[in-house]
């Protein structure tokens, strides 16, 4: 391949991290900046790692209990204990205890591990979230995480990229969630299988970092390996104060090769909902109208302070519908503190919602909001597979924070305009 051929962001980061001149299709062994595991994927990684006799790359490792904590039962307590003991035994400093962390991806961001140009893997499929800040990040398995503990590197097939050109800006209450749901509906749940979705265009600048995080978080729902936004001033501003180390922004070269291109005008986007049982089963929210039993606001997708503020602005002075339970779960201790300081917990509580400390909670049907047979939940989370949030005959409708809040008040899925 000629040296001069332009590169995508993925090709640039994977080239730099493998000290090669890599292009899509090449297999490289690359140095990772960080590897993260949670309480579900961690224990298998710990057992695999302990079959080797070597020193862990402790500065690169981040351990976050979040899925089944605070411990929901004895097996989850034992599992969380296994993580705690592994951290102690191997002197892993980056272990985030319950009450001092939260959902792993939000912790990674809050604690400054994520920055443009970094290569980060995590034994959790939503590790792709960090692409919002210009990193190449992707989900791996427990054994691969264990290999990273040992070697600090991993093999990657350099993915082809699909360019997503964004223009315009969102209308009030329409958000990154509506964009990514619309995209998954358009391209399908394997429409970006093995690929990177690389975002570009003026529309990027109009999006908050929080919205970019929501979009990047769910690219895996279209099968993507990564979803990357080019870093800009908003990225710099976001990272100021929390960042560890330094970074250099990575932009795609002129002449970089893309598999295809798609365009989205953010100003024409509508509120979207993914109906059961696929994130690709997407319709405009106004067409859905189904009654709900539960509304869930939280998760690595939409549990940030911006999401909480949107929901609170819709719910302020109003009451959650009598037949609905609303559950609000800030994504991290940092977000929880902000929600507390800004008086949002007061608003949610006055409205009749339940507010908890940070955890993955009901998102994956673990605890704190598991659904009974026949129940329906409108949820700001990322997956609505069969039985994802509980009983196999329960239903999850994925939506943005504004639709979740409005629907909680109305008792059925509605657009925000119906209640404000």
């Amino acid at each position: 391949m000629p040296e001069s051929k332009g590169k995508t962001i993925s090709e640039k980061i994977l080239s730099a991290k493998s000290s090669t001149n890599a292009y899509a299709g090449d297999v490289v062994e690359a140095e990772i900046d960080y590897v993260m595991v949670n309480d579900i994927t961690g224990p298998i990684a710990f057992r695999e790692f302990d079959t080797l006799s070597c020193e862990p790359m402790r500065d690169k490792m981040i351990l976050v209990p979040d899925h089944f904590v605070p411990n929901k039962d004895v097996p989850s307590a034992e599992q969380a204990k296994e993580m705690r003991e592994f951290a102690r035994k191997h002197r892993i400093e980056n272990y985030y205890e319950v009450g001092r962390g939260g959902i792993c991806h939000q912790v990674m961001i809050d604690e400054g591990f994520v920055a443009p140009g970094r290569l980060i893997v995590g034994a959790d499929s939503h590790t792709c979230t960090y692409g919002a800040l210009g990193a190449f990040s992707t989900g791996v398995g427990s054994t691969e995480a264990a290999a990273c503990f040992a070697e600090g590197k991993l093999w990657f097939k350099v993915p082809e990229s699909i360019k997503i050109k964004l223009s315009g800006g969102f209308q009030k209450y329409v958000s990154g969630k509506d964009l990514i749901l619309k995209m998954i509906g358009d391209i399908g749940v394997d429409g970006a299988n093995y690929k990177t979705l690389e975002f570009s265009g003026r529309g990027v600048g109009s999006m908050t970092v929080s919205d970019r995080l929501t979009v990047a978080n769910m690219v895996v729902e279209a099968g993507a390996k990564a979803g990357i936004f080019p870093a800009d001033k908003a990225t710099d501003d976001f990272l100021r104060g929390t960042l560890r180390g330094r970074y250099e922004k990575v932009s795609p070269d002129k002449g970089a090769q893309y598999l295809t291109e798609r365009e989205y005008d953010l100003s024409t986007l509508d509120y979207m909902v993914a109906l059961p049982h696929s994130p690709g089963n997407v319709r405009p929210a106004s067409e859905v109208q189904v009654p709900i039993d539960q509304a869930f606001l939280g998760s690595c997708t939409n549990g940030r302070i911006e999401d909480m503020r949107v929901a609170a602005s819709i719910m302020k002075g109003k009451k959650v519908h009598p037949s609905v339970r609303m559950i609000v779960v800030p994504a991290s201790t940092k977000v929880y503190r902000q929600v507390l300081q800004e008086g949002l917990i007061q608003i949610f509580t006055d409205a009749g919602a339940f507010v908890s400390g940070p955890t993955c909670a009901a998102c994956l049907g673990g605890h704190m909001g598991v659904l009974a047979e026949g129940e329906r939940c409108v949820s700001s989370t990322n997956r609505n597979f069969v039985g994802r949030m509980g009983h196999k005959n329960s239903e999850v409708y994925l939506a943005g924070p504004a639709v979740v809040a409005a629907s909680a008040l109305a008792g059925r899925i509605v657009v925000p305009n119906a209640v404000v």
Binding site: I44, E55, P75, G141, A147, D190, N193, G365, R388
Partner: protein, 164 residues
Amino acid sequence: MDQMKGRVWKFGDHVDTDQIIPAERLTSDNTDRLGLFAFGKIRPDFVKTVKAGDIIVAGRNFGCGSSREHAPRALKQAGVSCVVAESFARIFFRNSINVGLLPIECKVDADEGDPIRIQPDEGTIVNESTGKTFKFRQYPPFIKDLIESGGLMAKIREKGRCSR
């Protein structure tokens, strides 16, 4: 790689890892008995009648969703010898190799229960019920090497790369 023979369990497109093994089973006490819960919510008959060596034949995007390595481990522990699918979700594909469950990308016409025979080195799958043969592409050299080594952990041990 050895030849594999088994009965077909048919699945459609986009089988997600929550279906393969639901989240509530993902605790360490279940690590060595994940097979008992495979497809528990959607096909309770599976674990009751699956036999060692059985083969899953599926459509597109098998193993999408969560990165849980418990999913290929559950299938392997249940006795499944191989998953043949039109395409795989990427994390499931990588995890399968690391836990010793062979993922084969191939479109196969087979009915539930058909006996099929897979010859990995020849890249062929024969449906012994219909007599039809299906060909699949060889793995790229890097992946082939990884499979033959027994996955990533075995590879690290083999090379002694970890002794720092």
